[in-house]
């Protein structure tokens, strides 16, 4: 029925259009009334809802889609980064500490840490127990760590350590012999 708007008067309607509108209008006056009814309906005034609805919906939207502030995100990231870095540093220290201690003792300090000095009387007792065994076992092993030595292993280093051990053994042996 949109074509009603295009017609200015009842007389402008075609026969088929008049037939279609027979139940609604049959003269100029009724046609004008019908046209006016539809035109005014289409020009219906806007009915804005009250402002409090918008306010409520704004609050609802904020509550539904609240995003964390970007500054807080950066702070959280920094804190996590610091914690992880500290943990990593501590982990590395724990991993390296025993290794560096051993290596340091082995390479840099050729001196073997001496245990607590035992009194001579006690030494005499120990020596009397192991008398003969110690010296023979040293001799058969080629001096101390000789049984673990491999061919082609760093010659100078082994020599140094073996000489050192031999020297110590000799010292220890003379002590024992002296005490005996």
């Amino acid at each position: 029925m949109d074509w009603i708007f295009k017609k200015t008067s009842y007389s402008a309607l075609s026969t088929s259009e008049k037939e279609a509108l027979a139940d609604l209008c049959n003269d100029e006056a009724s046609f004008a009334r019908l046209k006016g009814l539809l035109e005014l309906s289409e020009q219906s005034l806007p009915e804005p809802p009250p402002a409090h609805i918008r306010t409520n919906l704004d609050a609802l939207f904020d509550a539904t889609y609240t995003k964390p502030a970007p500054q807080k995100q950066v702070k959280r990231f920094r804190l996590t980064y610091i914690i992880l870095a500290a943990a990593a540093v501590i982990g590395v220290i724990f991993l390296l500490f025993p290794w560096t201690t051993n290596r340091g003792n082995g390479n840099n300090s050729p001196k073997v840490a001496k245990g607590p000095q035992t009194p001579k009387n006690e030494q005499t007792e120990i020596v009397s127990k192991f008398r003969g065994r110690c010296i023979t076992s040293f001799a058969s092993n080629g001096g101390g760590y000789g049984r673990f030595r491999k061919k082609g292993f760093s010659e100078g280093r082994n020599q140094t350590s073996s000489h050192f051990i031999q020297g110590k053994c000799a010292e220890f042996g003379s002590n024992i012999c002296g005490s005996i």
């Binding site: 029925m1 139940d23 609604l24 209008c25 006056a29 009724s30 004008a32 009334r33 019908l34 046209k35 006016g36 009814l37 539809l38 005014l40 309906s41 289409e42 219906s44 005034l45 806007p46 009915e47 804005p48 809802p49 009250p50 609805i53 918008r54 409520n56 919906l57 704004d58 609802l60 939207f61 904020d62 539904t64 889609y65 995003k67």
Partner: protein, 192 residues
């Protein structure tokens, strides 16, 4: 270079719904601006100008858009989808029988007179509008619905058929009946 958001004025309704799903408040504002007046008018007319209930329903409708934007059927147009929801809300309201039929509240406040020389014409139009509103309220729900959707909200027959879940022939028939009833009721008015 800083990109400045100018708003969502050029967005289609459907794109606005997608933006709302991503939490874009400006998109919601734009959608509200486009549809709040029309939907409020539609709900008001469907609920016999019960303003309190109409406001509640409008708020419920937009609250649904905010909290459950995923319900939007992307295969439909937003316009028909939102009117369908509004119609369903009104239907639920009818079922609750909370609306008192036949009361035309607050119609007066929508039409204010201007003080220019064309007062006589304005008075005539105002009387006609009031009479039209009253006649509209006396129509049964189905006929009122199709008339409001077609001639007040400007929807097509196809869209109305989709919203009312009726075929186009039924919609046309209801519309014709509604116009006939209104024309009969308003026969005392002369429109120039």
């Amino acid at each position: 270079m800083r990109i400045v958001k100018t708003g969502f004025v050029d967005y289609s309704d459907e794109d606005l719904m997608l933006a709302i799903q991503q939490g874009e408040k400006l998109a919601f504002n734009e959608l509200y601006t486009r549809y709040s007046d029309k939907l409020y008018g539609y709900i008001l007319k469907m609920l016999w100008y019960n303003e309190v209930r109409a406001q509640d329903l409008l708020q419920d409708l937009f609250a649904k858009i905010i909290t459950q934007p995923g319900l939007f059927d992307t295969e439909r147009t937003f316009k028909t989808w939102v009117y369908t929801i509004a119609s369903n809300l009104c239907k639920n309201e009818f079922k609750r029988n909370e609306v008192r039929k036949g009361t035309v509240n607050g119609v007066e406040q929508f039409y204010s007179l201007s003080s220019d020389a064309n007062v006589e014409k304005e008075v005539h139009e105002r009387q006609f509008r009031d009479a039209l509103t009253e006649a509209l309220m006396k129509l049964d729900t189905k006929h009122r619905q199709v008339f409001v959707l077609k001639h007040m909200d400007g929807l097509s027959i196809k869209e109305i058929a989709e919203i009312t879940e009726a075929n186009e022939g039924t919609v046309k028939s209801r519309l014709f009946y509604a116009i006939k009833k209104l024309a009969d009721t308003l026969h005392m008015f002369e429109y120039a």
